[in-house]
């Protein structure tokens, strides 16, 4: 019995150390990416703009249809639920207040973050994991091409650029969906809806949402890359780490969201 407790303790200790090591790896990768983005040109090893643009297409443009569909649905859902619950107080007209704030500050960044984590975070982990197994990462190293510069930095740039853009788009679509339903249900005109929205939603709220989304983009990239580099043992290993990367990035996004909201509402 005592031995078993000891075993558990040891295992817990090991995974705690491994977790901290992963944090460290994330910090190192982030620092190295920034280093290559700034210094790369001077060392004749620039981060390729065309690679970053190709990643932007993949991360951003190709995600637009799914993000539009999800955002429209969620916008309508928010309007339905908002009107339903406010009807208890006879305050249906106030639905715009709730929706405007929550979409721009929370739902836009969160839904975009989760979708990007599922789409891009997982593909990043799978791509890097496969490259590791097929020795493509080694091949880069022995060619004198730094893998962080060649793979991680473009991915990071594309995420930092595209996740806020997608978030902005998602918020607009959500508000459109909600407005459309409110128009049908409460007979509010589009002009009146937009009027109320601009009255309620301040530019600070928009920045709050976009700022968060930049953070989510960085988190998703680092989690994807770390899980990719930890892949071992063939195709099964790639699958395992891909799943792990999605789960961890979604958790990281939600926890960060809470912390960000707490800090931002204090000041």
């Amino acid at each position: 019995m005592r031995e078993r407790v000891g075993d558990h303790m040891e295992r817990m200790g090991r995974s705690a150390v491994a977790g901290i090591a992963e944090f460290g790896l994330g910090a190192v990768l982030f620092a190295q990416s920034i280093y290559w983005i700034i210094i790369g040109h001077r060392r004749a090893q620039p981060v390729r703009l065309d690679a970053a643009i190709a990643r932007c297409m993949e991360v951003g443009i190709h995600a637009v249809p799914i993000i539009t569909l999800m955002s429209l649905t969620i916008g309508i859902m928010l309007a339905i639920q908002g009107i339903y619950s406010l009807r208890v107080f006879g305050a249906e007209e106030q639905v715009v207040l709730g929706i405007g704030m929550s979409v721009v500050r929370e739902f836009g960044p969160l839904i975009t973050g989760i979708l990007v984590a599922g789409r891009t975070g997982s593909s990043l982990a799978a791509r890097i994991g496969t490259m590791r197994i097929s020795q493509e990462i080694d091949a880069l190293s022995v060619m004198g091409i730094n893998p962080v510069r060649y793979i991680v930095a473009p991915a990071l740039i594309s995420m930092v650029v595209m996740v806020p853009v997608l978030t902005f788009w998602s918020s607009i679509v959500m508000l459109t969906g909600a407005g459309w339903y409110i128009g049908i249900d409460l007979g509010m005109s589009a002009a009146a809806y937009i009027d109320r929205l601009t009255e309620i939603v301040k530019i600070g709220d928009v920045w709050h949402g976009l700022g968060k989304s930049v953070l989510f983009g960085i988190l998703i990239t680092l989690v994807g890359v770390i899980n990719g580099t930890l892949v071992s043992g063939g195709a099964e290993g790639v699958g395992k780490m891909t799943t792990r990367s999605v789960v961890i990035s979604i958790c990281a996004i939600i926890v960060t969201d809470m912390i960000f909201a707490f800090i931002a509402t204090r000041s």
Binding site: R43, M131, S134, Q135, E136, D138, V142, M143, I145
Partner: protein, 280 residues
């Protein structure tokens, strides 16, 4: 194909006169707590083909990774073209690596690029040539490895032998001083494998490269090697010419050459112990 000129052995005088391009001194590496290489000493000379041979678990892949600088040794030194791989700065190492070409076992071609782009990649990253010049240079190397006409194919569309050829073309595109080949004939049928061997020989003769080949295929080792280094359990059993190795009296070498299984590997206790040691 009978071309004695390709297989010509350097004379003794030539061997002594040619300087070493790779010097390995007392190289010790660990994987976790397990010792993999137990003090390797090895010189690889200008223009020779050195075959590093050994069974599974002999440490030959570890030695290759240490030579490539992918693995930091616990102690000892790897000097490539007189520069200590683990003591020089990143910038110097990047420069040094442009003088080394590596053809990996599975090719390690980038799956998102076609063959031509794969071969052009080192040029694109390390030179300031314009695109058409790079394309011409890459096509020339494709000609050398008999892959002309396959520029636009993706790696997934290539056969095993073609992947090895493409990997070789990418490895030599910067005209390296030293070429490393990891298991060049693994997974190929005898005919294709023999063609790859001929290709390696012709590369040495045409471009004067020093070539390090890691393999467990005896036939191909005997065909291409100037010298063979036999590894076993992290120790060098012998370094010598093909004839010296073939006629060695050493029992372990003869076991390897004659594919005799060793009794102790089949002992389950020993095997379990190895497994747990590997997991630690």
């Amino acid at each position: 194909m009978n071309q004695p000129a390709l297989n010509r052995m350097p004379s003794d005088a030539e061997v002594v006169a040619t300087p070493a391009v790779i010097e390995v001194r007392d190289l010790i590496t660990h994987y976790g707590t397990r010792k993999i290489l137990h003090g390797i000493n090895l010189d690889i000379r200008q223009g020779e083909i050195m075959v590093i041979m050994g069974g599974s678990g002999s440490g030959k892949s570890t030695l290759l990774n240490a030579l490539l600088g992918l693995l930091r040794p616990t102690s000892g030194a790897v000097r490539i073209l007189s520069q200590d791989l683990n003591a020089i700065s990143d910038v110097e190492r990047t420069k040094l690596r442009q003088k080394m070409g590596v053809a990996f076992q599975g090719g390690a071609l980038f799956s998102s690029m076609n063959v031509l782009e794969n071969i052009m990649l080192p040029l694109r990253e390390h030179t300031r040539l314009d695109r058409s010049t790079m394309q011409i240079m890459a096509r020339m190397k494709m000609q050398v490895v008999n892959l002309a006409g396959f520029e636009r194919l993706m790696p997934a569309e290539l056969s095993g032998g073609m992947i090895k050829r493409a990997a070789l073309a990418r490895a030599i595109v910067m005209d390296p001083r030293i070429l490393f080949c990891d298991e060049p004939s693994a997974g190929l049928d005898p005919v294709v494998s023999s063609a790859i061997d001929d290709l390696i020989l012709s590369l040495r003769d045409a471009m004067g490269m020093s070539i390090v080949v890691v393999t467990h295929e005896l036939e191909s080792a005997f065909k291409i090697a100037d010298r063979i280094c036999v590894l076993d359990k992290g120790h060098i059993l012998t370094i010598g010419t093909v004839d010296e190795v073939r006629n060695s009296k050493n029992e372990r070498i003869q076991n390897l050459l004659n594919r005799r299984t060793e009794a102790e590997i089949l002992d389950p206790d020993e095997y379990l112990k190895r497994l747990t040691a590997a997991g630690a």
